[in-house]
Amino acid sequence: MAKPKLKAHVINREWCKGCGICVHFCPKNVLELDDTDKVFAARRSDCICCKMCELRCPDLAIEIETEQDD
């Protein structure tokens, strides 16, 4: 199986509550909170598509879209 290739970090800014869980537990330190406390992918190219951010988000606000997904 080929390594999944990142398409996008799909972030629902309406739903994100800025708890920082995804930021803290990202193994590659990809994510950050902006000054409105919404998450964004600051170091997108470091992402390994492990999806831990997506699985741990309490607000279903972040999704990792990969090329394998479709």
């Binding site: 708890c19 869980i21 537990f25 309490p58 607000d59 279903l60 606000a61």
Partner: protein, 268 residues
């Protein structure tokens, strides 16, 4: 189907506080259900009252938001009346084991095919931070301003002793394990109990200087260990995670079907 197909999107963002572990339980539950490939019409989610119990309103199944502590009793009626349904019962720690403790042990004893999820944040979130039967000795709460002197139940031991045929524990940090366990629990035929250590940063966290949601999840990461691990031997205080009980036992509704057969035979 994507997990978004299992929620009622119009009610999002949900009411839970930033970082509330209950949202992670919802997340994992949706993924567990997604993997089952069941029809949404076959699933019923029944909850009581509490922050945790609000989960039922967010999922696009048949949903029954009942009264505090009694979700399992309602669920027993639903399941027995229509055993084809898959009935999932998420509860708070107070909901499940204080006011609902009696229903909990009796549902376990009957081994009726329900999936009980105890969303254990060791506090009464909805009412603002009172101690629960899972808070434990030494904890601070709005009703234990000096210190809690109640000892906690061990949910796993309690469920096991009461006769549950599937008993497991995980945490909101260990989401992959949690999803897997929830899936197993739903598929298990009989009464299954999944305790999820969940964080209430707003009340438990603040009162007990446990830090943010992130800190509390770090705690779950560092203070739990897989069942029977070497770490547990070296550090007996670690809380074990995994499936503690998984046994085949005749299930209540199928047993009742046999009663019906017997009763009907007696007639002719």
């Amino acid at each position: 189907m994507a997990i978004k197909d299992f929620i009622r999107e119009r009610f999002f963002p949900h009411i839970w506080c930033p970082g509330c572990g209950h949202g992670i339980v919802l997340n994992s539950l949706l993924r567990a259900i997604e993997k089952l490939g069941m029809s949404k019409n076959e699933i019923v989610v029944i909850s009581g009252i509490g922050c945790s119990s609000r989960i039922s309103g967010y999922v696009d199944f048949h949903t029954l938001h009942t009264i505090h502590g009694r979700a399992l009793a309602f669920a027993t009626g639903v399941k027995m009346s229509l055993p084809e349904l898959n009935v999932i019962v998420p509860m708070g720690d107070g909901d499940a084991l204080a006011i609902g403790g009696n229903h909990f042990i009796h549902a376990a004893r009957r081994n009726i095919d329900l999936t009980a999820i105890v969303m254990n944040n060791r506090i009464y979130g909805m009412t603002g931070g009172q101690y629960s039967p899972l808070s434990g000795y030494g904890i601070l709460a709005t009703t234990a301003p000096y210190m809690n002197i109640d000892y906690a139940f061990d949910t796993v031991e309690l469920a096991t002793a009461a006769g549950a045929s599937f008993v497991a524990r995980s945490t909101t940090y260990h989401v992959q394990q949690l999803t897997k366990i929830l899936r197993q629990a739903i598929l298990h035929e009989g009464f299954s109990v999944v305790e999820v250590l969940s964080q209430c940063p707003t009340y438990f966290g603040r009162k007990n200087r446990a830090g943010s949601a992130v800190d509390m999840m770090e705690y779950f990461k560092n203070h739990t260990t897989p069942i029977g691990s070497k770490a547990k031997k070296d550090h007996p205080d670690l809380i074990e995670r995994g499936v503690f009980v998984e046994k085949e036992m005749s299930e209540y509704c199928s047993e009742y079907d046999k009663i019906i057969e017997k009763a009907m035979k007696g007639r002719t």
